[in-house]
């Protein structure tokens, strides 16, 4: 028998070059892979910025910011981003006005009233609702919700803000419901018991104790939902139309920032034309809006985490 001892065996193994090489290389390879996510952000910023600068060498930034008309395809084009922002705002306001009460109501029910069994049934259904592709929601808005609204209210156009607004609302309900429910569930039970013990009803406990305690988590969920509604693309390109305007009328056709990007991309904007570069100026505006929302949401949820 060979007289190996354990010390030698370990040294033998340790000395093997390939093992040590792998150990040294792995962190470097993984770091390179990780840098892809940072490069993506840089890529987005550089692409949007450089092409937006190109756009502003052709169109004055003052017109972009102050004009209220957007007519990229006319022979005498106007480039007032405000018209597209108004479109996005109309959709977002309708969506949020519809989704926040319902999403919060659902969150309160799930966190404060529902039994474990009910929660186990309803949460997956909300997950399914969140997983439905937005192009399907767009079809639903155009072929089901719009005719329904026009049946009740005939002066509404085929393309309008109400139907896609409501459907975007449906799309963000699961997000508000599940994130707010998480926030409410993490309010310590002792606080609830304190309120109930002093004679509050369950409803009073919800409004006077649980909601105030969870408010920053709830705000974070709402702001994230707003960001999703602003960035939502397919529902609005299918059901909202393609006529940018800065009016407050929600019964007529409109265009959002995302809707414009899709319209240009699915048509043929010649590479290097004004319309082509406007794609990036609109994309940049959209990016700034959603980034702002995400930063606000992160601020809220950090605040919430500090509290508990």
């Amino acid at each position: 028998m060979n007289d190996y001892n354990i010390r030698e065996m370990i040294d033998n193994k340790k000395g093997r070059r390939s093992t040590m090489f792998i150990e040294k290389m792995v962190p470097i390879i993984l770091l390179v892979i990780t840098s892809v996510s940072v490069l993506t952000t840089i890529g987005i910023l550089v692409t949007l910025l450089s092409e937006t600068v190109m756009f502003f060498t052709r169109v004055s930034p003052i017109e972009f910011l102050t004009s209220t008309e957007w007519s990229a395809f006319s022979s005498d084009p106007e480039w007032g981003i405000f018209a597209l922002i108004m479109g996005t705002l109309k959709i977002t306001v309708i969506a949020v006005a519809f989704a926040v009460p319902i999403g919060l109501g659902a969150a309160i029910y799930l966190s404060e009233y529902a039994s474990d069994r009910v929660r186990r049934i309803i949460k997956p259904i909300l997950e399914i609702l969140a997983g439905i592709p937005t192009v399907v929601y767009g079809f639903f808005a155009l072929t089901f919700v719009t005719p329904l609204i026009r049946g009740i209210w005939p002066e509404v156009n085929l393309f309008n803000a109400i139907s896609p607004g409501l459907v975007v609302g449906v799309m963000i309900i699961p997000m508000i419901a599940s994130l707010s429910e998480d926030a409410m569930s993490s309010v310590p039970n002792s606080m609830r018991e304190g309120a109930l013990g002093l004679g509050s009803t369950r409803l009073e406990t919800v409004f006077k104790v649980v909601l105030p305690a969870a408010v920053s988590g709830i705000m974070a969920s709402i702001v994230l939902a707003v960001s999703r509604a602003i960035g939502e693309t397919m529902i609005v390109s299918i059901a909202a139309g393609s006529t940018p305007n800065a009016s407050l009328n929600i019964m007529e056709s409109l265009q959002t920032m995302t809707g414009f990007i899709v319209q240009v991309a699915s048509g043929d904007a010649t590479y290097g034309s004004d319309v082509y570069f406007s794609l990036y100026a609109v994309g940049m505006t959209l990016f700034v809006f959603t980034l702002l929302m995400n930063v606000i949401a992160q601020w809220f949820s950090r605040k919430f985490r500090e509290e508990y």
Binding site: G43, I44, A106, G131, M234
Partner: protein, 292 residues
């Protein structure tokens, strides 16, 4: 004098209890809204599209005549897209998650990477489309190929898989990790033989769920310029292709009412694929997830 006025409280109490009870039902109604919409959407689509789900529908290419139109090109294109997106996304995001959880030093740069990933998750998909159009389609010269779309999709779903994988890796208790190190295993051996196997169900669930998001994603494909009517199927990753959501988007815009029915049929196929993927994810989560 009594400390509390029983009459006063008694008078108010019935109102308070009534409000409590009625609000409970209002909250329940709110919860049911989602359920009702989901049911309406499914039933409406099934009524519209069920009768169009024939064999021809699966074997025909898209056509301007609704009676001849099928989803062969779109369906195979979607499969190509997923098969190409999956490996790219998996390598990128599991690698990132491993680095962040196992190797990253606690410093400002790591914090920055983490904040960056959570911000990336909030970027609208249409902006990823613009990135893909500039970077992959034009600068890299990939054109509107399967690879260009897959790279774009991979970057888009990266944050979701990273976060899911991080959670799965974090849930492996340190006792197992220490046992492995204590037995003389190196760090990489511990990762490949102990940590990854233990966190695999969580990682796979995250991957399937984000792929099912990518499968229905339309906006980046539109921006990249994927054709909607294509009379051949791709034979490699450098070929151009069409995809199911693109097909749905182009049919939705057709004025002919018969197109509404074949759109519904295509949606049913898409939803069925999503349902299948989600079921597999839930099955894996329930069957293989170990509680330590």
């Amino acid at each position: 004098m009594e400390l509390i006025n029983k009459n006063e409280i008694g008078k108010k109490l019935s109102g308070r209890l009534l409000l409590n009870k009625s609000m409970k039902y209002i909250f329940l109604l709110c919860t049911l809204v989602g359920l009702v919409v989901l049911a309406t959407l499914l039933i409406d689509t099934i009524i519209d599209g069920w009768s169009y789900l024939t064999t021809d529908f699966f074997t025909n290419f898209s056509s301007s005549r609704p009676e001849n139109a099928g989803i062969k090109g779109a369906l195979i294109g979607t499969l190509w897209l997923m098969a190409t997106t999956a490996p790219i996304a998996i390598i990128l995001s599991v690698g990132t998650a491993l680095y962040l959880e196992e190797y990253a030093p606690k410093n400002k740069i790591t914090d920055f990477i983490k904040i960056n990933i959570s911000n990336l998750a909030g970027v609208p998909s249409v902006v990823f489309g613009l990135l893909g159009l500039t970077l992959f389609v034009r600068m890299a010269g990939l054109g509107n190929s399967v690879l260009a779309a897959a790279l774009t999709m991979s970057l888009m779903i990266l944050p979701v898989i990273v976060v899911a994988s991080q959670e799965a890796i974090r849930s492996v208790p340190s006792s197992i990790r220490e046992a492995s190190i204590g037995m003389g295993a190196t760090k990489w051996q511990t990762i490949t033989r102990v940590i990854l196997p233990a966190s695999l169900p969580g990682i796979i669930t995250g991957i399937i769920l984000s792929l099912s998001r990518a499968i229905g994603e339309t906006a980046p494909l539109v921006v990249i310029g994927i054709p909607t009517i294509l009379l051949f199927t791709p034979t490699g990753v450098f070929d151009t292709f069409s995809a199911l959501p693109m097909q749905i988007f182009s049919w939705v815009k057709m004025p002919n009412p018969e197109f509404q029915s074949i759109t519904a049929a295509a949606i049913l196929v898409l939803l069925f694929i999503l349902f299948l993927m989600n079921s597999v994810a839930i099955y894996i989560r329930n069957k293989y997830s170990k509680r330590f």
